[in-house]
């Protein structure tokens, strides 16, 4: 029993998990930066990898709304 507790604690310390979505394949650096900044502002950003333009979020509703609005803006600009 003692061993089980020790192993669990050891794993708990060394492994952290969070559920959510990996966002990737941003067509431009600017679009990536805008969305990543927004994700950070609303507090859903968990991890990011600027070099490969990808990041992980633990909530997607706000980000989907933001992406939609950005797409609309681009459409209007033509």
């Amino acid at each position: 029993v003692t061993d089980q507790i020790r192993l669990w604690e050891m794993e708990g310390e060394r492994v952290v998990t969070s559920n959510g979505y990996l966002m990737k394949e941003f067509p431009s650096e600017k679009e990536y930066r805008d969305v990543v900044r927004y994700a950070e502002d609303v507090g859903v950003l968990v991890w990011k990898d600027d070099a490969n333009r990808r990041f992980f979020i633990n909530g997607i509703e706000q980000i989907q709304g933001f992406l939609k609005r950005e797409a609309e803006k681009r459409k209007q600009r033509g």
């Binding site: 061993d3 669990w8 492994v15 952290v16 998990t17 559920n19 979505y21 990996l22 991890w47």
Partner: protein, 75 residues
């Protein structure tokens, strides 16, 4: 087009990550969706519990020898 891939982000040190990749390899690569960097993996949500259990098993096996020493000392 931007893609959103649902999953569980696993953050751990490099030695634990190597063990998780090893477990994935021995299970038809059915656990890991993407190897992100030295300390991060994207794993299928439905497989996290199994992966954790197998990691614990692996860690336990590694501790077998020290455990033996402890029980010997107690005797």
């Amino acid at each position: 087009m931007v893609k959103a891939v649902r999953g569980t982000l696993v953050k751990c040190d490099a030695s634990i990550k190597a063990m998780l990749v090893d477990i994935d390899n021995r299970n038809n690569n059915d656990f890991i969706i993407e190897d992100l960097d030295e300390e991060h993996l994207l794993v299928k949500e439905t497989k996290v519990a199994t992966l954790k259990a197998q990691l614990n098993q692996m860690l336990k096996e590694r501790l077998k020898d020290p455990e033996k020493e402890v029980s010997d000392a107690e005797d």
